[in-house]
């Protein structure tokens, strides 16, 4: 069987990293960063945590490229949905009403 067995010590490392990330995100939330940085910091930490879960807990790091393609397509479609909707709202005040 060519299935890759991930060792518990990998899981433990990722688990500890996730706990650290959680603590970090709470501390960072209470700190006042200039401008829009609070959101960026919070989302960056969340994306890093999610990536760790996907790559290691969900075994994607050891999975077929087809799985990577499927995950990529999800991100692609999410990006389309967000980009088109937000650009609509964002540009509503650019033109005077008809």
């Amino acid at each position: 069987m060519s299935e890759h067995i991930v060792q518990p010590r990998v899981y433990i490392t990722i688990f500890l990293a996730l706990l650290v990330g959680t603590g970090l995100t709470v501390v960072a939330a209470k700190t006042d960063f200039p401008g829009p940085l609070n959101v960026i910091v919070a989302l960056t930490i969340a994306v890093v945590k999610a990536t760790l879960v996907i790559l290691y807990f969900m075994h994607v790091r050891y999975s077929a490229r087809l799985i990577w393609l499927v995950i990529g397509s999800a991100l692609f479609w999410l990006a389309i949905m967000f980009a088109l909707t937000i650009s609509d709202y964002w540009t509503r005040t650019w033109l005077p009403p008809l």
Binding site: E3, F15, A50, F57, M81
Partner: protein
């Protein structure tokens, strides 16, 4: 590592030439167990893509309204219980760890460990739901359930006057209106409610897996259901990893200089 081309065109070499091809769990339309396992994993991932779009739409709604009504969203977010939210985040992360360990236990053929890990995962999931129930009850008590979802208890929070530090009252940041705070709570209940529903389904799945493990169905040659259910469980954890900062931590840097 299996290549794209192998999954599409060829049958994975692994077990086609050995007697494993007659494993009792092998379905007739697959050549061998490995192909079956990979097809199952692919199927679950395609389903998770639909789930990502499902939750994604709600995250989009949150994004739009958060940027339209920042003060109301910050005020409402600060009124959520940060400790309970953080505890729940840790609970789910631990449950993902126990889930991963359950999969590992099947891979090395340790039935007892598998059952223990699955039961721990369920207990943690139930803990999460219990804490959410406490939070929902607090909202009910403070009249923060939006619209008229609870007949006779419309959305009607008590707004704190300047200088009042009562935690049960809503503290509004300058520019926030109660109407827009209600909008936050619509999104809060929709998203955490949908997430909790997924949690309940996940616990149900774990229950079935535990029974199957108890009956000795899983081992190194066959544990696809555990792995695939693990994917679902980790996905639910990931949704919460995003929900927690967006719902609970939004305006915490403003706490301290509220109106």
């Amino acid at each position: 590592m299996v290549r794209f081309s192998e999954v599409i065109r060829h049958v994975p070499e692994g077990l086609a030439t050995t007697h494993e091809a007659s494993h009792s769990a092998l379905q007739h339309h697959f050549e061998n167990m490995e192909q079956q396992r990979e097809a199952g994993t692919l199927g679950m991932w395609v389903f998770l893509v639909t789930e990502i779009m499902f939750f994604g739409a709600l995250f989009l709604a949150y994004t739009i309204y958060r940027y339209q009504y920042p003060a109301a969203f910050a005020s409402a977010s600060n009124h959520l219980d940060l400790r309970l939210g953080a505890i729940n985040t840790v609970v789910l992360i631990v449950s993902s760890f126990t889930m991963a360990m359950a999969v590992y236990s099947t891979q090395i053929g340790k039935q007892r460990n598998t059952i223990i890990c699955l039961i721990l995962t369920m207990i943690l999931g139930a803990t999460f739901l219990g804490i959410k129930a406490v939070e929902y009850h607090d909202k009910y008590r403070d009249n923060l359930i939006p619209g008229q979802l609870i007949p006779g208890h419309p959305f009607n929070p008590e707004v704190a006057k300047p200088g009042d530090t009562d935690e049960h009252k809503l503290h509004l940041v300058e520019g926030a209106t109660v109407r827009n705070v209600e909008l936050f709570y619509w999104i809060y209940f929709a998203m955490t409610g949908l997430h909790a529903l997924h949690m309940i389904i996940g616990i149900g799945i774990m229950l079935v897996l535990t029974l199957m493990a108890w009956r000795g169905r899983f081992g190194p040659e066959y544990h696809a259901p555990v792995e695939i259910s693990g994917l679902y469980w980790h996905f639910v954890d990931i949704v919460w990893i995003f929900l927690f900062p967006l719902l609970y931590l939004l305006g915490r840097h403003l706490e301290g200089h509220l109106g």
